[in-house]
């Protein structure tokens, strides 16, 4: 999409505590007011142990990491494929990660929770 810097070996690590305030702000932004994101009882009725965060909160943290890591890299587009592997509960801490596959323009990318379990994982391809 712009610039000329070399591909990074790793993506910038970003960490976020997903508290209820952030969930509420995101719900307003996305227009997604599903009660499982605001009401513990509604979440339990859906089989969750507590309020769960929107998956896109974590995914967008990954996009933030991608942006900070590739802003100056010459590219025509970014292709991201991800799988949501596990829910993120309110007040959990998530962290992004990403590493280049060999010297290619492909990356393994992920978001982990505070236990180190990956809640999102996938691949990023930077097309020049």
């Amino acid at each position: 999409m712009n610039m000329t810097a070399q591909l990074p070996n790793r993506l910038v690590k970003l960490q976020l505590t997903i508290g209820q305030d952030r969930i509420n702000t995101f719900a307003a932004l996305a227009g997604d007011h599903n009660p499982i994101h605001i009401d513990a009882e509604a979440a339990r009725q859906s089989g969750m142990s507590n309020i769960i965060a929107h998956g896109s909160i974590s995914l967008n943290l990954l996009w933030e990491s991608i942006e900070k890591s590739t802003r100056d890299v010459a590219s025509s587009s970014l292709n991201l494929e991800v799988r949501f592997r596990a829910p993120v509960y309110v007040d959990e801490i998530v962290e992004t990660g990403g590493s280049q596959v060999g010297d290619s323009n492909n990356y393994e990318v992920w978001v982990s929770n505070q236990e180190g379990s990956r809640v999102i994982e996938g691949t990023l391809t930077i097309e020049s």
């Binding site: 999409m1 976020l16 952030r22 702000t25 995101f26 307003a28 932004l29 996305a30 227009g31 997604d32 599903n34 499982i36 859906s46 929107h54 998956g55 896109s56 909160i57 995914l59 967008n60 943290l61 996009w63 933030e64 991608i66 942006e67 900070k68 025509s76 587009s77 970014l78 292709n79 991201l80 494929e81 991800v82 799988r83 949501f84």
Partner: protein
């Protein structure tokens, strides 16, 4: 926030919740017109922290608009759906204040390991840049 108004579609047949059976593969479900403003940036920064972007929008804005349009257009939805996977391509970052069209289509539906799965595609475009972003597969495990 962002200004949103449905353009087409936006209702399941008979106004009842979308069920697996009602989705028509290959059909446009609906679209909305969206515009991102300064309030959007303030809210975004309150979640992810302030980043100096020289007036441009965060890369993730396209992802957020995708989910916003999906939530708005595919209405009403039954509770219990699960966002499973996503494939997307970011060609260009949305521009602050510029109107964008976000279109949502059903691209596939199938049963996988006894689960009903519906695939959607979401495309964001504007008049000047064309296609900004495409979620070629937004895979949702559908509850009913």
């Amino acid at each position: 926030m962002s200004v949103t108004r449905p353009e087409t579609g936006a209702a399941a047949p008979n106004g009842e919740p979308w069920t697996f059976e009602k989705f028509e593969v290959g059909a446009l479900i609906g679209s909305s017109l969206q515009r991102v403003d300064d309030e959007f940036i303030k809210s975004w920064d309150s979640i992810y922290g302030v980043t100096d972007r020289n007036g441009s929008l965060p890369y993730g804005a396209a992802q957020l608009l995708t989910m916003k349009a999906y939530a708005e257009v595919v209405q009403p939805r039954p509770p219990g759906n699960i966002h499973a996977t996503q494939k997307c391509r970011l060609n260009s970052v949305p521009v602050l204040g510029r109107e964008m069209k976000v279109s949502v289509s059903c691209t596939a539906k199938y049963i996988r390991r006894n689960r009903k799965v519906v695939d959607f595609s979401v495309e964001i475009s504007d008049a000047e840049s064309g296609l900004l972003y495409a979620a070629s597969t937004l895979e949702i495990c559908w509850a009913v």
